[in-house]
């Protein structure tokens, strides 16, 4: 959302101040905090992805990536997750139009798409485990499960936040002017999606060394 407000002085009216509390930048504290947090998360995922890439092709025993990966299957679940970003945008747009009923529909859709992705990941983990890949089997297993599991945990936290928001709105406890709450949860959700694009590319699509 583009920020059009100019920097507020202490003379701004109470109504303006409620919409955007007076800050040095005109941005809300929460928004800057969320961006800072996501910046930190980049390093978190960056370090995990680096570990995976460092250990690519270094496992001494199988199963190896090409033994277990089912690219068409994971492509579909990746598509599902990406579509959830679209529905998140629609939820925010509905909130901006003060149409909470429609916002709830889109929030629930987003949460369901996210849950579908998580369900797909659980299924994928089960298939891999049955194929002999586990945390302690080899380096591939350790780095793959921890990286994708960590991402899955982030998606799950996102789903919890979406459902909390849904419940608040359904009970009429979400004030109309709290557009930014929806926006910030959306920001987190999009971040988790973008990280998945990186993981899907680097982990699944880039061909293995062996």
């Amino acid at each position: 959302m583009a920020v059009t407000e100019e920097v507020k002085t202490p003379d701004s009216t109470p109504e303006e101040a409620l919409a955007h509390p007076v800050t040095s930048t005109g941005l809300s504290n929460e928004k800057i905090a969320m961006w800072a947090f996501l910046g930190s998360e980049c390093l978190l995922f960056g370090a995990l992805i680096s570990t995976y890439l460092l250990y690519r092709g270094r496992s001494v025993v199988g199963p190896f990536p090409h033994d277990v990966y089912d690219i068409p299957y994971t492509s579909v679940s990746s598509f599902v997750l990406l579509m959830s970003s679209l529905t998140m945008v629609l939820a925010l747009a509905a909130m901006q139009r003060k149409d909470q009923r429609r916002m709830r529909v889109w929030l629930l859709t987003t949460a369901l798409l996210g849950a579908t992705f998580i369900g797909g990941q659980v299924y994928e983990f089960t298939v891999f485990y049955r194929a002999g890949l586990s945390l302690h089997e080899n380096l591939f297993g350790s780095s793959f499960f921890v990286l994708t599991g960590f991402h899955g945990a982030h998606v799950t936290i996102g789903i919890l936040m979406l459902l909390s928001l849904y419940t608040m709105s359904a009970k009429g406890r979400l004030a109309e002017n709290r557009v930014e709450t929806v926006e910030l949860i959306g920001l987190y959700w999009h971040f988790v999606d973008v990280v998945w694009i990186v993981i899907f590319t680097m982990v699944y699509l880039v061909p293995g060394v062996k």
């Binding site: 109470p14 040095s24 929460e30 370090a47 250990y55 004030a175």
Partner: protein
């Protein structure tokens, strides 16, 4: 200024009645006032400083002579590991965090930090993380892998007991504290500055804190990943550091030092900020080259990310990597050297008042210079290969962390003590403290250079006689007790200061905004948000300049002829009142009197923090249900936290306290003050 607006937010549902006006001890447990949290940080970290210091004394007693027999090898490993971990994570980092918490809002003219409850959460997570790590002594398994915890040495195969688990979980918990603190301070500094407080008017301490918080923001996740991987190896049998499975023995070192070198600057930058505040006040000159100070700090922070492998020159990285990191390590000395010259130029030609804070600041500059010079010798790969794992390294990092950070932080303690407590520390005792500490410090760590060059390795618990190490080790032990005695003088000084007279709000004739408000500051900090017109705002309110640029006091009768000053500060008026009736005890108006709505205390930060060690114990001892209970405690607290407003609607009268509390009307009074009354999103802010 209290504009009242109604707002159709429904009344929050709650688990407990909120502690709106707690008193006594309970006040400290639920406070979200940045000043109280700052003092809690400082006090707790000082306790850990004493504990870490006692551990150091055990080490020095053991090594005071050849074939020491004070402790056995296993205990020695635990003691030196806990000494390092304590001093870095439980002393210098939280001391800096405490100073930042207390001072940053005051220096930028804010009434609190951006997220007061998150601030309290950060403090409680720090305390609980520290206590968790120290609880390992009760189980007889204190961490014993060094403060760097090199894997695979810390893998289950080589260290099967729970020692390392305490370290892994303890540091992950402390990382949460640092991360939330960093986000909070970054947002505060970006967003909560008073009108006119542009970035380049901020006090240099605020700048250095700002930079250090960015380093924390990006460094903490990297060590979190390293600890996370080690945790998976130890608890679930993953292979991240399992060499038999093909793991890279250098992965840990890379991850750890990508965190670890920025960490060094996280430890030193705030102390540099303190010194940059103290020197101008006691030389009565503005800081020489303020913009250069700011940009050299930023340069250090950027370059700090590109030097980590100089901790690994002995690991066989290959000539290209070694050359690159040797060069970057030499280059990072440049912005650091620039700072040292700036401090010297600030002192040169100043009207120096030799007080305890000034002495400690000069101690910082000189000792840090020595440590910096020995640091440059590490950049030279062949020399470093010789020095690696000897006492020369120990000498270096004590000169920068003790001679640097600790001297700088003590300068801050003497300087801001009147602001914190309203009392002065004795300058005479302070000078004794300084000289004894300086002598003890150099007697302890100076000989380490010699011992290291003579080949005495680090981390040995015992050495035979006849290697020429005996004399200097004995000197170091004597020195360490002199340091301990000097710290005792500080404690005596602190206790004695309680009986002293109250001091006026600006005892040092200082320059920055925190000195424009009473000692100790009222809950709301500034009765009116100050309007800033210059760098060193308070100085410019007090002094004009003559033709030669020398400071000339603005005489008091001038004040009324400058209506702008009265309007902007409101402090001028109060100063006048105090001067006219110095005897009369003036009661500070409360936030209620001034219609300032401060955020309300809360239980949830403490409760959310309590869940974390429960999770850790559950995971360590594989009692999954315990971990689940801990997770539920934290999750429930986060929800309670997200659903309660940051600032409770004000109750009409104090009478409302008694009797069955009437549920507040479904409306909140908010006012357009800089502290955001906006409710945090349920993202756990």
């Amino acid at each position: 200024m209290a504009a009242v607006a109604t707002f159709d937010r429904p009344a929050p549902r709650r688990l407990f009645r909120r502690p709106t006006h707690p008193t006594g001890l309970w006040d400290w447990f639920t406070t979200i006032d940045h000043k109280k949290i700052g003092l809690l940080y400082l006090g707790t970290a000082f306790v850990f400083f004493v504990v870490g210091g006692l551990e150091a004394l055990v080490i020095r007693l053991q090594l005071g002579g050849p074939n020491g027999h004070v402790v056995d090898a296993n205990t020695y490993n635990q003691i030196f590991t806990m000494h390092g971990t304590t001093m870095i994570f439980l002393v210098v980092m939280p001391l800096s965090a405490g100073l930042a918490n207390y001072l940053v809002p005051l220096m930028i003219g804010a009434r609190d930090v951006a997220f007061p409850r998150l601030n309290a959460f950060g403090y409680w997570v720090f305390v609980i993380g520290g206590l968790f790590m120290y609880s390992s002594f009760l189980f007889g398994h204190a961490p014993n892998g060094g403060w760097f915890g090199y894997a695979p040495n810390t893998e289950k195969a080589f260290n099967p007991a729970h020692n390392i688990d305490f370290w892994v979980f303890g540091l992950q918990i402390l990382g949460i504290a640092s991360l939330t603190g960093a986000i909070n301070l970054i947002v505060t500094i970006i967003n909560m500055r008073a009108p006119g407080m542009s970035l380049m008017r901020m006090p240099i301490f605020v700048w250095m804190t700002f930079i250090a918080q960015f380093l924390l923001l990006f460094a903490i996740p990297v060590i979190t990943v390293a600890l996370f991987e080690l945790m998976f190896d130890r608890l679930f049998g993953a292979n991240f550091f399992n060499i038999q499975a093909g793991a890279d023995p250098l992965l840990w070192q890379h991850l750890f030092w990508i965190f670890g070198h920025p960490e060094v600057y996280i430890l030193i930058l705030p102390a540099m900020g303190v010194v940059s505040e103290v020197l101008p006040v006691f030389t009565r000159r503005p800081l020489f080259g303020y913009p250069v100070m700011v940009f050299s700090g930023i340069a250090i922070a950027f370059m700090g990310w590109g030097v980590w492998a100089h901790h690994m020159f002995a690991t066989g990285l290959g000539p290209v990597a070694k050359s690159a990191f040797a060069l970057s390590t030499m280059f990072i000395a440049v912005p650091t050297g620039v700072k040292i010259f700036n401090w010297m130029a600030t002192m040169a030609g100043g009207k120096i008042r030799v007080k305890a804070p000034f002495l400690f600041a000069v101690g910082f500059v000189t000792m840090f210079t020595i440590g910096g010079l020995s640091g440059v010798t590490h950049a030279i790969v062949p020399a470093d290969t010789q020095q690696t794992d000897t006492y020369y390294i120990v000498a270096h990092f004590h000169y920068v962390l003790f001679g640097g950070s600790i001297f700088g932080l003590f300068a801050g303690a003497y300087y801001w003590w009147p602001k914190f407590t309203g009392k002065m520390l004795s300058d005479r005792l302070g000078k004794w403290h300084f000289w004894l500490m300086l002598i003890g410090f150099n007697l302890t760590f100076g000989p380490f250079h010699i011992l290291g060059l003579q080949g005495m390795p680090r981390r040995i618990y015992r050495y035979p006689s006849g290697r020429g190490w005996d004399f200097w080790n004995l000197m170091a032990t004597v020195g360490s007790f002199i340091i301990a005695f000097s710290v005792l003088l500080f404690i005596i000084n602190a206790v004695k200061s309680r009986k002293g007279a109250n001091v006026a709000e600006d005892p040092w004739d200082a320059r920055t905004l925190e000195w424009s408000i009473p000692n100790p500051p009222p809950e709301y900090n500034f009765a009116e948000v100050p309007i800033v017109t210059a760098r060193d705002e308070v100085w410019h309110r007090k002094y004009g300049e003559d033709e030669q640029g020398r400071p000339v006091p603005r005489s008091v009768p001038d004040v009324p002829s400058e209506p702008a000053r009265l309007e902007v500060s409101g402090n001028g008026e109060r100063e006048l009142d105090v001067e006219e009736q110095p005897e009369e005890e003036v009661r500070e108006p409360t936030a209620h009197d001034l219609h300032i709505h401060m955020p309300t205390p809360s239980y949830y930060p403490l409760l959310a923090a309590i869940g974390l060690p429960i999770i850790a114990y559950g995971l360590m001892y594989k009692a999954w249900y315990v971990a689940v209970i801990g997770a539920l405690v934290t999750l429930a607290s986060v929800y309670g936290w997200a659903l309660e407003p940051s600032t409770e609607p004000e109750e009409p009268e104090e009478i409302a306290e008694a009797g069955p509390a009437p549920e507040p009307e479904p409306q909140a009074e908010l006012e357009p003050a800089p502290e955001s009354a906006a409710e945090p999103a349920p993202t756990g802010s």
